[in-house]
């Protein structure tokens, strides 16, 4: 039958002898008391309070930062930007006056002959001049004259 826990039996002689043995304990009393003191102080600030404190500080810092950012906006700064604009139309080039054409060139020059060829002006034959390349056929007989001259010689 077990004994009542509240009224334990007195220890026997053997139990007392066992009890008289002192267990070894290398407990650093000073260090333990120091750590216990630290723990008792830390107890005042529970982790939840730390969390609340940190959250409050964070929100306050954020609000202050936003306030400063809103009140101290920087002045608008002129920004330089390179814009590619289309070049304005160039003014018409001044007309270059053609150099004065000599009379022979005016009548028998290459341009005059080309114009005549384009316009189909073949009323007068073209004559190649030694100097200008082309001369008027004043001294040269026409086909008709050559034909009459040839027929007279045949007679």
């Amino acid at each position: 039958m077990p004994r009542d826990a509240s009224t334990p039996d007195p220890l026997s002689g053997f139990e007392k002898q066992l009890q008289s043995l002192r267990p070894t304990a290398a407990l650093g009393r000073d260090q333990l008391m120091f750590r216990a003191g630290q723990a008792s102080v830390e107890r005042g600030v529970t982790p939840r309070r730390w969390w609340l404190l940190a959250a409050t500080n964070g929100i306050s810092a954020l609000a202050a930062g936003l306030l400063v950012a809103m009140t101290m906006q920087p002045e608008p700064r002129a920004e330089e930007q390179v814009v590619e604009r289309p070049a304005p139309p160039a003014p018409p080039a001044p007309a270059i006056e053609a150099p004065p054409v000599r009379s022979a060139d005016a009548e028998f020059g290459y341009l005059a002959l080309r114009n005549r060829a384009i316009q189909g002006d073949w009323r007068e034959p073209l004559v190649i001049s030694s100097n200008t390349g082309w001369e008027k056929s004043a001294a040269t007989p026409s086909y008709r004259q050559l034909l009459e001259q040839y027929s007279q010689e045949l007679r």
Binding site: P2, Q17, A25, A26, R43
Partner: protein, 169 residues
């Protein structure tokens, strides 16, 4: 109830410190660390437990078992060597029992019997408190204690309720 003061903490340390170390030594190789941590936890409590000694034994038991398991994972051989090297009791010529022999005899006991004897004799806990610690009934705790004590008596040739005929050295 207010938190524990330094005087009360010092008194508990003097009275229960060595017993708590002996109690924790059953499960881990560094019992002093576990006991120190238990006292720090006690100082951190907002209110002093109803039975501070029993509270300390429970915290030490949990911490020592936890530490012992983690130590076993690391090096079981080193742990057993450290257990053997550390003496369990202070050697004194005035003691009629040899502390080393008692320690060896305690080591041979089943864990629950050894725990009950250490908590009862050196921790001076009641059987009800021992039962709470071990998670068993009071009668079972008392039976473990009696069985362990009988085994020790047999080892040291001590008849029941008698002191040993000669000092065991």
């Amino acid at each position: 109830m207010p938190s524990i003061g330094p005087d009360e903490l010092g008194r508990l340390l003097d009275e229960q410190g060595p017993a708590l170390v002996l109690y924790a030594r059953q499960w881990c190789a560094s019992p002093e660390d576990v006991v120190q941590e238990a006292f720090v936890q006690l100082a951190r409590q907002a209110a002093v437990p109803d039975r501070p000694a029993a509270w300390l034994f429970r915290v030490v038991r949990n911490g020592a078992i936890s530490l012992g398991r983690s130590s076993q994972r690391r090096t079981r051989r080193e742990q057993s060597r450290a257990n053997r090297s550390a003496p369990w009791f202070i050697v004194s010529e005035a003691d009629r029992l040899d502390g080393q022999e008692v320690a060896q005899a305690l080591e041979t006991l089943p864990a629950e019997q050894r725990e009950a004897i250490v908590a009862r004799l050196w921790g001076q806990l009641s059987f009800e408190e021992i039962a709470e610690l071990s998670g068993t009934s009071t009668s079972t705790a008392h039976r473990w204690y009696q069985a362990g004590l009988t085994a020790l008596r047999t080892r040291f040739n001590v008849p029941c309720h008698e002191t040993p005929a000669r000092p065991i050295r």
